[in-house]
Symmetry: C2
Subunit: 256 residues, 2 copies
Amino acid sequence: VPTAPFAAVDDGASLLAGLERIGFPAILKTRRLGYDGKGQALVKDAAEAMTAVRELGGRDLILEGVVDFERELSILAVRSVSGEVRYYPLVENTHCGGILRRSVAPAPDSVLLQEQAEAIALKALNELEYVGVLAIELFQKGDELSVNEMAPRVHNSGHWTIEGAETSQFENHLRAILDLPLGSTSPIGYSVMLNLIGDLPDTQQVLRTEGAHLHLYGKHPRAGRKVGHITIRGGDPTRVMKTAEELRRDLPIVWE
Amino acid sequence: VPTAPFAAVDDGASLLAGLERIGFPAILKTRRLGYDGKGQALVKDAAEAMTAVRELGGRDLILEGVVDFERELSILAVRSVSGEVRYYPLVENTHCGGILRRSVAPAPDSVLLQEQAEAIALKALNELEYVGVLAIELFQKGDELSVNEMAPRVHNSGHWTIEGAETSQFENHLRAILDLPLGSTSPIGYSVMLNLIGDLPDTQQVLRTEGAHLHLYGKHPRAGRKVGHITIRGGDPTRVMKTAEELRRDLPIVWE
């Protein structure tokens, strides 16, 4: 599947070889367990790269070229023990400070990209003999998709499925690992999911908003921490987007 | 609000006075805590009435005339501590053996009855200074509604709201008693709820059915016991009804 140029980094020699091939700027990442921008560093020269390697633990790293892209999308796919596969529609994701802030589902103008995304997901599912929900983050440039990362689990960009799809990602994950028939992944209308990061919103205001569904995780708020999300769902995509933008402006967290 | 003719029954004298006014056949019911046809008896003469009074405990009974009706509907209303009120759309209910078997939501051909039902519900909510979800069961005859019973709680005929309404009856009950703004009661497409009574269905078959949502209550099956329900939801009412009828025919329980 198409990806950014990449090189494995396990020591100084592999780092230098990788930098020579990929050039600057580049991104150093831990290969596993990264999330919310944690476990990665943008490096602009060899000195920054050496420092980043040390700070990231020195091994099991990957060096990636920086990708020029227009927007970030993700596709959630689910595969059961028996091999039944379903795909949710592509989602458009907006990040800020390395953290997902908003998902729009289905992603606007994504119908012609869906088949390409499903083909990428199917390759990953089959190659890994994967069971459960798998999220694949994608970069779009023109009509082409390339893979950014994958999350082998239910995913923040799939939280909208609780209200916005016939079967939620959580129910389908359970159906998949229990080898039950998978449920429909059809969207029900249009959804926008807003993450609540670092602070809690005005509960009354959110609950008064038509079509808004508030999810609080019972976590103590602190800077950069996901403490909940809001999904706005409705039959009219323009109205859903407008409602989401109005709510977002009033949320306590500024998107830097 | 319009109801069947009724009389309070607390002893032999009030029973005889009630029977004289209401005539036969009539229905004797406990005034509180009846459900699924429990706590009631159809009586065709004075001897049957005397027996029924003894069997039902002798007091706090109500004697009702038998109502000629075309179909049974119900409306779920919700009122918060602050007095905010919302109504779900009318639901059409099919009973068998005194137990609810199927709810269709919104009830077909009920748009012109909705205002009448809401006015009845509002009277009850205000008179009782009610807080939470209230279900009112109604008889329809022509264009007229009369009240059968009310259930001061979330109700079996509202289970479809989990998938079929923007906010479920359970969430709105919690919002109401916590004095939070109430959520939208708008239906999302069309729903049919089928009760699972006395036995469990073929899980695989239900989960394979597009738009079907299976709810099992973890109760041990026995005759007449509600052990779960299935909600079939979709955007096309004809297809939803067809799917529900096909599923119903295959359920283990014959509707006597």
